[in-house]
Assembly symmetry: C3
């Protein structure tokens, strides 16, 4: 990776959902502009290698697996799951040090496979913790994936400013215009920004109201987004009636995580755990399909249209008219940019010292 990088490198990104990677086959995915081949070794642990043979640059994902090793489709070089060449069928079979592919640290956690793309050693302390996704029945949590032709920041903006739910989304998750007038409670640290909204609406949100005592009557709602650099937003949504504390009512604990494919294309991962109808596989499948569709048909087209109108220009350079609802998103963008710039400065200093 050349510096300055447009991405925060010393960080974990979601590479795939756990389901996308099987013990058979391989998954090709471009991450931060780099071709990666993902697969699961015979013991079940995920593996990520540079999807480019060092010989003539053929993608290993077009080749075949031999146990945990990958065989290049072009000239048969074989690489183990650490990226070392374990067989060179050519000439005397010499394996030089250069005859290797880069291996990327990966960790399976919360139903996703996370990847570390930096050349620096992986810092496991930076792996975020979304344990509530794992707590409860297996049919109470679901995940999905989609790809959007936009810079990843535009998706983060979307989730950090939930006032858009008043306007973009249909009846099922309508917030009835209640979020836009609010000034959310925004908190930040160097690498996190959170925002929370509290409001009442009648009827309550239709995805939750059937789990309330009086489905058609007013309920208190609470929603919170917690961004962690670079691409994770944990979202909690609950509602309640009467004296029930809002966080004890029906609700869900979600993760939105974005991983740049490149500067203008983004892998978008989503997970949701709910505290109601947790054991019904069919309901679970319906629920994740509805969430997937809401994004694909409602947010997605609008965000993609914004990107088309922006072209390759920088968001701030286009002088957006920012409003109260942009506060959390703008803080998120500034924190992220600060971290990227700090990382690039450090890299340049390091290179100069070498």
């Amino acid at each position: 990776m050349t510096h300055p990088s447009p991405y925060l490198m010393n960080a974990w990104y979601v590479a795939a959902t756990a389901d996308e990677i099987g013990t058979d086959g391989m998954l090709h995915r471009k991450i931060l502009g780099t071709s990666v081949v993902l697969y699961r070794s015979e013991d079940g642990s995920p593996v990520a290698l540079h999807d480019r043979c060092p010989h003539r640059f053929a993608p290993l994902s077009m080749g075949r697996r031999e146990g945990d090793a990958l065989v290049c489709p072009y000239h048969g070089l074989k690489f183990n799951s650490a990226g070392a060449c374990v067989h060179n069928p050519h000439g005397k079979g010499v394996v030089t040090k250069a005859l290797a592919v880069r291996s990327f640290p990966v960790v399976e956690k919360h139903g996703f496979v996370w990847i570390w793309m930096a050349e620096e050693a992986a810092d496991h302390a930076l792996l975020p913790d979304y344990s509530p996704l794992d707590e409860g029945h297996e049919n109470g949590v679901a995940r999905t994936y989609m790809k959007l032709p936009v810079n990843y920041r535009l998706i983060l903006d979307n989730v950090m400013d939930l006032s858009h739910v008043d306007h973009v989304h249909g009846e099922i998750i309508s917030t009835r215009g209640q979020l836009s007038p609010l000034f959310p409670d925004v908190q930040e640290t160097e690498s996190t920004v959170s925002a929370a909204w509290e409001w009442q609406q009648t009827p309550p949100m239709l995805i939750l109201n059937q789990f309330l005592p009086r489905p058609e009557e007013e309920a208190r709602h609470w929603i919170q987004v917690n961004w962690s650099a670079p691409g994770n937003i944990q979202l909690s949504l609950y509602c309640a009636q009467d004296d029930t504390p809002v966080k004890e009512g029906p609700g869900q604990y979600d993760l939105h995580s974005v991983t740049p494919e490149d500067e203008f294309s983004t892998h978008y991962f989503f997970a949701t755990r709910r505290n109601h109808i947790e054991d019904d596989a069919e309901y679970n499948a319906m629920k994740i399909r509805a969430m997937h569709d809401a994004f694909e048909n409602e947010d997605g087209p609008v965000i993609a249209a914004c990107q088309r109108e922006m072209g390759e220009r920088d968001f701030f350079a286009m002088n957006p008219v920012l409003m109260s609802n942009d506060l959390a998103a703008v803080k998120m963008r500034r924190r992220l940019q600060g971290l990227i710039e700090a990382e690039n400065s450090a890299a340049i200093t390091l290179e100069a010292a070498e």
Copy 2:
């Protein structure tokens, strides 16, 4: 618009045919590289706004209409037909001066909606007059629209040099090789160029001969093109036999008008009024379809192929071998270039003085 601009800015361009813009819905069209949303207000008058919300650059044309106002699909900002924000649902609903979209002057005339894209005040004296299009039965005039992947000058070249009709077009409008040998009468002013051809042919042009006394016998023909900067060419075509003055014979009064979508894509508008079978809606529909098809299937593919061969190079920089038939087109290109350069020089002078 940054200077130097590749377009003549202080001018009226056709944005749409009157029929394309309804009182319901919106039309998105990119004009001179800028996204425009066109619609008709409830009183029927056309409106053109920048199709980009100033907040996060969503296209307003993806949103919805509320009477004469447009509501942004992303966060619900509402803009009236002058581009002023009339509702901000966020926070305290403050509407700053910056919270507005640019409104473009538009005029409906001759069955087209004309737009003024310059930042300077619209000069209505520059709106061209093609009144004959409006004179007569409503079924004696028709309009059409198409888009071509070429620089707009290539379409103007095509119409300014009618010798191409001898070679490109089929039997219906064949001129039987009679125009190419002629040296047309070419006249010019600072912002106009005209050319006229007179000839005889047997049989007369097949679109007109059935309205002559002796359809199969020789007739005098006259055709004239009148270019007005930047993109309008008015074309008149008549034929006659015996002592009838040629302009009193069967014929038609047309307008070809081109509007750059961008430097390599062009909106092409066409209108035609004839002085025969003026009251037959079915004949009228057949006539405009035939004209549309002639362009789409005959001129269009050749012009597009020329553009592909030119790539993004400048026409004159490729050293075309110019001939007698190019005279009017070359004068048109030089006049147009002179006007664009004068406008850019004036803009630079103005900026320097500020």
Copy 3:
């Protein structure tokens, strides 16, 4: 052609198979970035002209033939097979010296039409000789054509390093891993590189074994590639059992020839003559179809994937890890690059002296 050119210009390239060019119609093909129209004159000899009218750059291939002349589709200029304008229908019909299209020397040989793209006089001594293709029954030789979205060097690399047959290809032409361990015999001159492999395998190659005394038993095999700058590789393949000299056993004499469409797209021509079942048209058709499919489905996708991974970067600049099997390909690339650079230096010297 501007200097420096990315192509070797003073050379013959295959423009088309003889079958692609008929006495009716025209073939448009872009060669070394230049649009060429190919056709066969009434006496059967092939013709190649710049496919760009000098007037307004319309492709002549969109026009029509009048005997051996081509008529421009746009304004009717007519050019003879030497590229001279023989009719200008405009004005007084003056034909200036500039009113001509460039004609390219072409030669029909070995079932292909070869073209000379340099501005320098064609050097017929540089036309390669693959006479064995012409010797024998007409049904013992076949040709095919395909286009690949890659730089032409990647196809040359593929053929110069036949160790790939061990890995890329299916059962029919499998070499059972026997080539990769070998150090081929590599020979070179200023503009040629050859490599030869000898080995034994059981069963023998399945495309040849049925013509051996004992089809299922071990046979000696010999394969040789002979590259001639810029784009030709003659390949010979034979096998034998017992005391039969290997080159007297069943085998084939092939030509692989690449012609850049542009820097990242290549016309790939192939011919094969065999010394067995020479008179069976149906077998011949099956044979060439199998060879075509092997390339299209096996080598082609891998080579195209390498190009996608390389983007527009230079092969050596990406630091490939080269191995023993790359020796002939690397020598070929260096010889080719040397010839291109020498040609460019000579051209610059010439221009400076003018």
